[in-house]
């Protein structure tokens, strides 16, 4: 391996960035304290990642605002190549962790894929998980089996499940609603993480929910508090997702002219809405849908677009440079956007953006603002999600293409399969990001994170 620099996260970036971001609000000692508190990944999280730091920050509503903001920084992530921590996490987990078979060296620090083999174990424990609410359990099962995928849908499903859990919740005696409900939500979150690692949108939504719980006035009765929380969740979904999508539609539709050829990759719900909306208001354009194995998500998008009457072309990622010369705009979705403008999205987005840049085609990334994150990431390695490695070697519908099945065990030792789910697109390849706060260049993302994040946390 010749990437020693890339493997260890650079000590400079994280600290410096937080320092710069915090310098405006806090004085130097405060900034230094914040940089110390956000150590490098060797510091592990215990239990649910968001709970520890956010719960610490929400202790006591009357703390000064600066200190809270410092502690809101993202907690260090669990690295899976440290044996002792993995062992501890294994003992605490609800699911059986699968044995790591033949993982690629470079990605050993990522949690191994939880394939469908977890399902029978979870099913047999169905009636024994007392602390789990049925709707949270259902959402977890849907994540595990891949029935629900896509940042917005996962976030909405999770929030709706939490809403039901809150409605059915009753405070046990001698406990306050704030702390007990926060710890309960923390339990749900760790269950969901074990089913499938959280997406950034879900992480932000959970932080929002916990801050709302912590800010509940103590004078409220239990039913009022529950009703307030449920309406907060509804408001979050409506404002941050539904309304944001509508605003994005309006902005992005102005960028589509008649006669355009629009290219999109994979299946992003926002991009699909944009294309359908533009078609409704009467713009004439063609769509090229680029897809890739093994997920083949573009096929679902293609089906829905064709059903509405758009003229579409379908191709795979290998043909991107052949198709790009006739494309006029590229619309991409994102799972999250980091503070240095890097777009974290489905694997394959980076090559699409790069080829578009080489052909001087403008790339528009459409993403709601609640998905922005303060993290900075320079590569796709230090944080990612691993998918099912066997999916790479199998072609659905072609059982004759199974060259890897006949390998002996000894041969299999030398072959490691890797299936990454996400990748990071550098900001140089992005022309503009369309958000509900308008159309911004990628360098303005930290501004939005800084200025508008505190707004909804403090409401």
């Amino acid at each position: 391996m010749s990437f020693p620099i890339l493997m260890k996260p650079l000590p400079l970036s994280l600290k410096d960035f937080n320092f710069i971001a915090e310098a405006n609000k806090s004085n130097a000692p405060g900034g230094a304290a914040s940089s110390k508190s956000v150590k490098q990944p060797p510091q592990k999280k215990d239990g649910p990642p968001v709970a520890s730091s956010v719960a610490a920050s929400e202790r006591g509503v009357d703390r000064p605002v600066e200190k809270e903001r410092k502690k809101d920084l993202p907690p260090p992530r669990m690295q899976f190549d440290d044996e002792s921590r993995v062992g501890k996490a294994k003992r605490r987990s609800l699911l059986n962790q699968p044995e790591a078979r033949n993982r690629v060296e470079l990605f050993r620090h990522l949690p191994p894929h939880k394939n469908g083999s977890q399902l029978p174990y979870l099913e047999s424990k169905f009636f024994e998980l007392h602390e789990m609410h049925p709707s949270v359990y259902k959402v977890g099962l849907q994540y595990l089996t891949g029935d629900t995928s896509g940042g917005n849908a996962r976030c909405i499903a999770m929030l709706q499940a939490f809403q039901e859990a809150i409605r059915d919740y009753s405070t046990p005696p001698e406990k306050t609603l704030n702390r007990d409900l926060t710890s309960k939500i923390g339990g749900f979150v760790s269950f969901l993480i074990e089913c499938r690692p959280l997406s950034m949108s879900m992480g932000n939504a959970i932080r929002f929910l916990k801050s709302r719980i912590a800010r509940l006035p103590l004078t409220l009765s239990e039913s009022e508090a529950k009703a307030a929380l449920c309406s907060d969740i509804d408001r979050f979904i409506n404002e941050k997702i539904v309304l944001a999508d509508k605003v994005i539609l309006r902005h992005a539709a102005t960028k589509i002219r008649d006669g355009d050829v629009l290219l999109t990759y994979g299946s992003s719900c926002v991009v699909e809405m944009i294309l359908l909306y533009a078609h409704e208001i009467g713009k004439q354009f063609r769509v090229v849908v680029v897809d890739s194995r093994p997920m083949l998500e573009g096929q679902k998008l293609l089906r829905r677009l064709v059903a509405k009457g758009l003229s579409c072309t379908y191709t795979q990622l290998n043909a991107i440079s052949y198709v790009m010369h006739e494309v006029t705009r590229v619309f991409l979705g994102a799972s999250s956007i980091f503070s240095n403008g890097t777009v974290y999205s489905r694997v394959g987005t980076a090559p699409v953006a790069m080829v578009a840049h080489a052909f001087h085609v403008p790339v528009l990334v459409c993403c709601e603002a609640y998905k922005f994150h303060e993290r900075v990431q320079l590569d796709s390695i230090c944080f990612n999600e691993l998918g099912d490695p066997d999916a790479v070697s199998k072609v659905p519908g072609r059982v004759d293409v199974n060259y890897l099945d006949n390998l002996t065990d000894k041969q299999k030792e030398n072959l490691q399969l890797l299936n990454l789910k996400y990748d990071a697109t550098p900001s140089d390849y992005i022309s503009v990001i369309v958000t509900d706060y308008g159309m911004i260049p990628p360098t303005s993302v930290p501004v939005i994170v800084r200025e508008y994040r505190k707004e909804y946390l403090l409401i």
């Binding site: 399902l119 979870l122 169905f126 891949g146 896509g150 499903a157 997702i241």
Partner: protein, 455 residues
């Protein structure tokens, strides 16, 4: 988890006539010296389901069952026994207790099911797909003893009707067609619109409906109220739900719709449509979707419901006790391959064996039994407090409690109920001896059913 469990323990069964009597109703028929209902209840207790409703046909039977349950499961379970009139069928039984059902989903288990499949699996599948009914399917058990002679009189009347014809979708999660019993011998009718929606259906005859269902309560109560003529769950209600899954009547969804609408007062209908569209687009499309969408794309009025199937893995054991042959098979299996279903010793604490007596593997001897000299027991189950003479050969049989067997008897492939007395040198092959019968000495019976006349 908002599930309520109903155990349908039945009471009388025409298939098992000589074995069942007024004192021994069907749920208390012993399998490996434990009543068959024990296996179901034990499994439910292990899955942490403590609140059950047990439905028994007939008042006396209900009393017996109730007494036994309270003796055996003193602490673990909280059971409500419901007695229903006889011969009203499984659907009728559910109708009778319908007002007791309050939870969101109901798990209906047949009391004669001996299996090691966790009920949580069926429940989890039900919840994951938000189904109206989920059925558990298992592979058809291999029946027939290893050394069976000519098939007994009972076997000749056994129809192949206990097999099912099951239609599944390509990913083996949804149930598209189910045909049971008598329908198999005639032509089976498939619903064309279901086939049209799915595109590809897999039809299997090696799967059996194991009679463990999970129902959505509203759907179940709706069907029970509307269709008065339905008598049986397995033959009427489940096939009806499977047939109508893409075209369920509006009433079926009216209740669920009202429940949903009551909760979402805060967001306007437009937002609701958008949210549900996002969720719908994100999930793997199932063949129900085109039927549930209105022309303008809103998914508000669903006219479909989902019927899921949970297929038990082939390594799990799952048999229903609904014929004599099944009774013999279960006894053999529970002491043999599937002995993980039992939780205690195979041989009771105090069997007294004479000299030169051999007891083969896969046998079970109850406590207090005594055997004479030179006996041979192979692959059999012997109950409690039996007195067995010498030179007796028992092969492949089930002997229940308090039986006296004289010297020199040969019992092969038979079932001998409680309190029976076999005098000397009796030969029984493939027979069924009812309770309290006395077989006079020197007789030979082949393939007969001997029962004392009810007074």
């Amino acid at each position: 988890m908002d599930f309520q469990v109903v155990v349908l323990a039945g009471g009388n069964s025409k298939n098992l006539t000589p074995l069942i009597s007024k004192d021994v109703p069907k749920p208390l028929l012993p399998v490996a010296n434990r009543p068959v209902l024990y296996y179901v209840l034990h499994q439910l207790r292990q899955s942490n389901l403590k609140d059950l409703i047990v439905v028994v046909e007939g008042e006396d039977a209900a009393l017996h069952v109730g007494g036994w349950i309270s003796k055996t499961f003193v602490d673990g379970l909280h059971v409500e026994i419901a007695a229903v009139p006889e011969d009203i069928g499984t659907a009728g039984a559910l109708r009778a207790i319908s007002h007791h059902l309050t939870a969101k989903d109901i798990l209906v288990v047949s009391g004669d099911l001996v299996s090691d499949v966790p009920p949580g699996a069926v429940a989890a599948t039900h919840r994951r797909h938000d189904a109206a009914v989920t059925a558990m399917l298992c592979s058809v058990p291999v029946s027939g003893s290893l050394e069976s002679g000519s098939s007994g009189g009972k076997d000749k009347t056994r129809k192949p009707g206990r097999y099912n014809i099951i239609g599944l979708d390509p990913c083996k999660q949804f149930l598209l067609h189910i045909a049971t019993g008598s329908e198999i011998e005639k032509d089976s009718r498939l619903q064309k619109h279901i086939l049209h929606a799915v595109g590809q259906m897999e039809i299997r005859s090696d799967l059996m409906d194991a009679h463990m269902y999970a129902f959505k309560r509203s759907v179940l109560q709706e069907v029970l109220d509307q269709k008065d003529t339905f008598q049986s769950l397995k033959q009427d209600i489940v096939p009806y739900l499977v047939r109508s899954q893409l075209k369920s009547e509006a009433l079926l969804n009216g209740i669920s719709q009202a429940e949903e609408n009551g909760n979402e007062k805060l967001s306007s209908p437009n937002n609701q449509v958008l949210v549900s569209k996002i969720l719908a687009n994100a999930s793997t499309p199932s063949f129900h979707e085109p039927y549930s969408m209105e022309p303008d794309g809103s998914a508000q009025t669903r006219k479909t419901h989902k019927c899921c199937a949970y297929i038990a893995s082939s390594s799990s054991y799952c048999v229903r006790l609904n014929s004599i042959q099944a009774f013999m098979d279960i006894n053999r299996d529970v002491t043999g391959e599937a002995d993980h279903l039992l939780s205690d010793n195979i041989i009771g604490p105090s069997p007294k064996l004479g000299t030169k007596t051999t007891v083969g593997p896969h046998c079970m001897l109850g406590e207090g039994s005594e055997m004479g000299d030179k006996c041979q027991v192979k692959r059999s189950v012997i109950g409690r407090h039996c007195r067995i003479g010498s030179h007796v050969k028992i092969v492949n049989s089930v002997v229940m409690n308090h039986v006296t067997i004289g010297d020199g008897c040969i019992i092969q492939g038979s079932v001998v109920c409680s309190n029976v007395q076999l005098q000397e040198r009796v030969v029984l092959k493939d027979c069924l001896v009812g309770a309290g019968f006395v077989v006079t000495m020197g007789n030979e019976y082949k393939g007969e059913s001997l029962a004392r006349k009810e007074k």
